[in-house]
Amino acid sequence: MSWLSDEAISRLKEASSLPDVSGTRYRLIERVGSGGMGAVYLAEDSVLERRVALKILDVPDMLNGAGGVSERLVREAKILAQLEHPGIVPVHDAGTLADGRVFYAMKFVEGKQLDQLVKDMNHPSASGADLLPDRLRIFQRICDAVGFAHARGVLHRDLKPENIMVGPFSEVLVMDWGVAKILGSTPDEFDAEAGQSPGHARTVSPARTAHGTVIGTVGYMSPEQARGEVENLDARADIFSLGAILTFLLGGSEPVPREVAAIAQKAMAPQARGRYSSASDVALDVARYLDGLPVSAYPENVFRKGVRWASRYRVAIVLVLTYLVVRALLILFSQH
């Protein structure tokens, strides 16, 4: 028996834990991420000769029955399959590997997580890409995708910068729908666990929701979500998270315009009834700000209205003023 070095043992452990994709059209290339219930691998689809991402469970099946991790992954794949939108990662395939692990194949998204992108934007050496409108346009696309999901009756429940990918052409994809909830459905096992201990201190995985923890991420989940009021959650819970994402996006942008700050504040109102009623409304307010129009979150007095109006039509105002000044000078000159 030959001696095995520590390095060889490490490789064998890794090889032992790798999913067995034999018999499928996929070839694993590398592990690109991991979470509470599984890992994401970059793989090659040998039939279509393209790169895909495979989300594969760590275990064949840890729990049987409702709420088991296998069931949860299948559920996630099915939800994604229903959400065909440019802002939501498309799922291509799903199934069970030879070793019993459940998987689904999705588009391999090349780009950066929003948290990393913002970090880069905020870096002192960053170029002009950190303009506020750029950040707001990214935010609008997130709102569009979330609004589409809401229209299809799906709540994401874990919206945060780490779950949003921004591609090289500023395309935005909302990822990780593992704890999504179909509105009107009965609470699943994870919901039940989340609601078991109201008021009790909870720990939440900073990276991803794990089995047995509150659904959501501290700092991005709404107060009602943190209280475990699972059955009462509606689109406004995700809207709170959108507000938190907007706040995060504005982190390195100084000064933050009052209108934009008001949009974030309204989205994050402590009481759900104080928030926007839909993600589309949030996006609309942002669009109005970008177009120089009043936003619903920020009631204006006459002075502010005048400033905004002047700002919006500053070119025309300058032209008119220039014309008037020149005309006045001409009249004055002719009189002399």
Binding site: S2, W3, R11, L12, E14, S16, D58
Partner: protein, 259 residues
């Protein structure tokens, strides 16, 4: 004169394959049936003698010769006295139990001095101590007898994994040879086992070397890894006393959850 083991050579490898069912060697080692008992003990000794030897060398700071005698005597005692009858899988893992037994045995060894009296028909196990000593030299553990209990535990666990994987690799080699799949094993050996301090060869390089397609490299490696995993899990199952312990150990040692 001593009795050379009646149950084969303990170095791992070809001798004494455990039956195909491969359920718990612990259960088998406590069986009333002498054949079952021998097979169970053989599996346990094969997996644990090296870790125990290295543990005695490191934890008890024993010289080579003393550690050899102690390891011999410990396993001989394990077989003769049926020590495993006291093991309760619900309370501890086998290696924890063995560690406690070893500590107890070594601590009392001086007083009892029974080793000196041993002889006659005492069981003598054929263990490859020079190989174990050479491994210990190569590992060069930064451990001493004064190392913390946690570090000693880590050391023992790592050596158990090394032993388990070593036996599994050897079994995989035989398995591949018996099915004419030497290329699969050789690829596995080069890609996953060899550690010469240099960067691993890529799939394309291996494909060129073996005159096969890159997809074949992928498939051959997948085959060898799948079989290695199966064998390692089977061997691990032997070393555990319950399904629950087996699954826990599989997760802890291999990072997998068996089906």
């Amino acid at each position: 004169m001593t009795t050379e083991t009646k149950i084969g050579r303990w170095g791992g490898g070809g001798g004494g394959r455990f039956p195909a069912t491969r359920w718990s060697a612990i259960v088998a080692a406590r069986s009333e049936d002498s054949g079952e008992r021998s097979r169970g003990l053989e599996a346990i000794v094969a997996a644990y003698w090296k870790p125990v030897y290295k543990y005695v060398r490191i934890r008890w700071n024993k010289p080579n010769e003393d550690a050899k005698d102690l390891t011999q005597d410990f396993f001989a005692r394990l077989i003769e006295k049926g020590t495993l009858a006291d093991f309760d899988p619900a309370k501890a893992r086998l290696r924890t139990f063995l560690r406690v037994c070893v500590d107890h045995f070594v601590a009392n060894e001086a007083k009892a001095a029974k080793r000196m009296k041993r002889g006659g028909d005492a069981i003598h196990l054929s263990l490859d101590f020079p190989a174990a000593e050479a491994e210990l030299e190569r590992t060069k553990p930064a451990l001493s007898a004064t190392a913390s209990s946690e570090r000693i535990d880590e050391f023992l666990e790592k050596e158990f994994i090394r032993s388990l994987f070593g036996l599994s690799v050897e079994e995989l080699r035989q398995f591949c040879e018996s099915r004419g799949k030497q290329t699969q094993f050789r690829l596995f050996e080069i890609y996953d086992l060899e550690d010469n301090g240099q960067k691993r060869a890529g799939y394309a390089e291996l494909a060129k070397k073996f005159g096969i397609a890159v997809t074949d490299v992928t498939n051959y490696l997948a085959f060898a890894r799948r079989e290695f995993r199966r064998i390692a899990l089977e061997r691990l199952r032997e070393m555990t006393g319950s399904e629950e312990e087996f699954r826990r150990e599989a997760r802890a040692l291999l990072g997998v959850e068996p089906k």
